[in-house]
Symmetry: C2
Subunit: 348 residues, 2 copies
């Protein structure tokens, strides 16, 4: 397939992640012949901008995918569940940002720096992992290769943009209301997020963990393709607009000094080590926002066990945590000549 | 000593913690005959209010403690280092909220719910632990008694009020500036705290941990009086005004189910278990602010090890984390008839 002939759809083009996808496609000069922005009936008719040109957003329908080679979905789980099979049926390869297909055995769950080989056997739908998982596995993979990770304890500090545009507006509105001595309106989250931390992301599961926490547990094992990596997570929403931070505690089979870990991570793809305590240099949400890399710092040996490390991992949750990772998957599909559907009925 | 005759000084009476101490003394109707607010020359001459009466703040000097039985210090480490020995010399018992005396072998480090017995052998200075340590050990102690804690991995979400009034103002000012499209002034913290998380609290130590993190490690061992409890910490400042949150991962010698842990904590002093996922009930900074208890929720078994628990611990860092704990120590000293200095020269 010649790259010039690729027709690309962005599903959910007007959402927070969809808009970032368009921006990243433009930045990276993604080689397509036509761009088709799709969205729900509510948003259809609006237009998006691409390289200074306005393109009208079309309504997403079951028959929207005729003639489309690649669809980047970021429109929520139920939309993906309903429309992705129709896209595949039309011969279109789907990279899906929702959680709908992530744990489906037919669908590879891919972070290009970690498991690009998983793309080879795709059947039409490739799943983009959860934002908090992506940045974590980018940082874990090189350490796993070097010293075999046995256990990870992660606590997250997640930005509101992970919930979408409406949550960005909610934090902004609540802060303005409070500074005008008004009670903050609480609509998107169960409680006020302004000047607060919410130890709940997504719904609770029967084991009292949240769905977000269990995503980090289950997706990590699938992406790393190693059932021996044990993860336990506490996922927390914080009053930050862009950039997820994570406090990671890692136990490895082989000893790694912090110096060795720093050296390994410095050479790893997609990572920028930002770690110099004497210069107060460490990753932060405000410096990771708008960047493509996963930033790692505060690397230090955990003195409570023989082979332990603590570190602080930050990335732009909308870019590497969602839109960029999806576009990187698409680039890899193109490069490896994998932009084709073997069985159009695989998901019907 | 009759309670009626106690003369109490509050050193640093105009700071964030000092003001809270006065509020708590009033709330609890602390039995003193005279209240002497002291502060630096800069703040002396201002007045504070106690039960509707104005009291002029006097300048702190080496000879300020004549005739004073009890001094609650909250004026920073260097002030405590300099003036607490003079207080003791004058026969005044000091409860100090700074870090100056915490690891001094002569000084008990006390959380009344955890180790009140340590007060017995005080030599004139009793140290109040670090805010992030206090709420953690209140939650750990009952579990330690029941199942022996071996290891704790803690990540904190700490409010700006822990840094003092100037940091409260800084967060407020930065948010207002950003909402008026101005660049935020950065003075108190190394970087912008508004809509950001800072993985640095206090200075860095030679081992690349921060002083705040090492306080949690060392103070926990001293308060719990058990060198076998191993703690590793990541301390993070978040854009919250009041209320520290902590994500705790605990490994115990004996197995505790989450149900057992919940039952144990429900009966423990100073704790309120706030843990019902189906009702979205968990502790948060905005609900802990202004309260006296340590709130514990999100209690769940860590499925990555045999005897592990995760939990979420929140308290008002200015109340239980500082002012209230100091007043509780003072109450205990009174109750146990320990408000006396054995050797006035113990710290000279």
């Amino acid at each position: 397939m010649s790259e010039k002939k690729v027709v690309v759809a962005v599903v959910g083009a007007t959402g927070a992640v969809g808009r970032e996808m368009l921006k990243i496609l433009e930045e990276r000069d993604f080689p397509f012949s036509q761009l088709v922005p799709l969205a729900s009936a509510r948003s259809a008719g609006n237009s998006i901008e691409y390289k200074g040109k306005k393109i009208v957003v079309k309504e997403l329908k079951e028959d929207s995918f005729k003639g489309i080679d690649l669809a980047l979905f970021s429109a929520g789980g139920s939309t993906s569940e309903k429309y992705a099979p129709h896209a595949v049926k039309a011969g279109c390869v789907v990279v899906d940002n929702s959680s709908a297909w992530r744990m489906d055995k037919r669908c590879p769950l891919v972070v290009p720096e970690v498991n690009p080989e998983a793309l080879k056997n795709h059947q039409g739908i490739i799943a983009n992992p959860n934002c908090s998982t992506i940045q974590m596995v980018v940082a874990l993979k090189p350490l796993h290769d070097a010293a075999k990770i046995k256990r990870v304890i992660v606590s997250t500090y997640q930005a509101v943009s992970g919930t979408g545009q409406k949550a960005i507006t909610e934090l902004d509105t609540q802060v303005r209301q409070m500074f005008n001595l008004q009670a903050p309106d609480v609509k998107v989250y169960p409680y006020q997020i302004a000047f607060n931390c919410l130890p709940q992301i997504d719904v609770f599961m029967p084991n009292d963990y949240t769905k977000e926490e269990m995503k980090m547990v289950d997706e990590t094992v699938k992406i790393m393709n190693d059932p021996n990596i044990k993860v336990t997570a506490t996922a927390v929403r914080v009053p930050v607009f862009y950039g997820h931070s994570e406090s990671l505690n890692i136990e490895t089979e082989k000893k790694l000094t912090s110096k060795e870990a720093r050296a390994i991570l410095s050479k790893a793809p997609g990572i920028q080590v930002f770690d110099n305590p004497s210069e107060k240099m460490y990753p932060m949400a405000i410096t990771a926002a708008g960047e493509n890399e996963v930033f790692v710092g505060r690397i230090r040996e955990d003195e409570t066990i023989a082979n332990g490390l603590n570190m602080w991992v930050v990335a732009d949750n909308i870019r590497k945590g969602a839109a960029l990772n999806a576009v990187q998957i698409a680039e890899r599909l193109l490069k490896d000549n994998l932009l084709k559907v073997k069985d159009p009925n695989a998901f019907m």
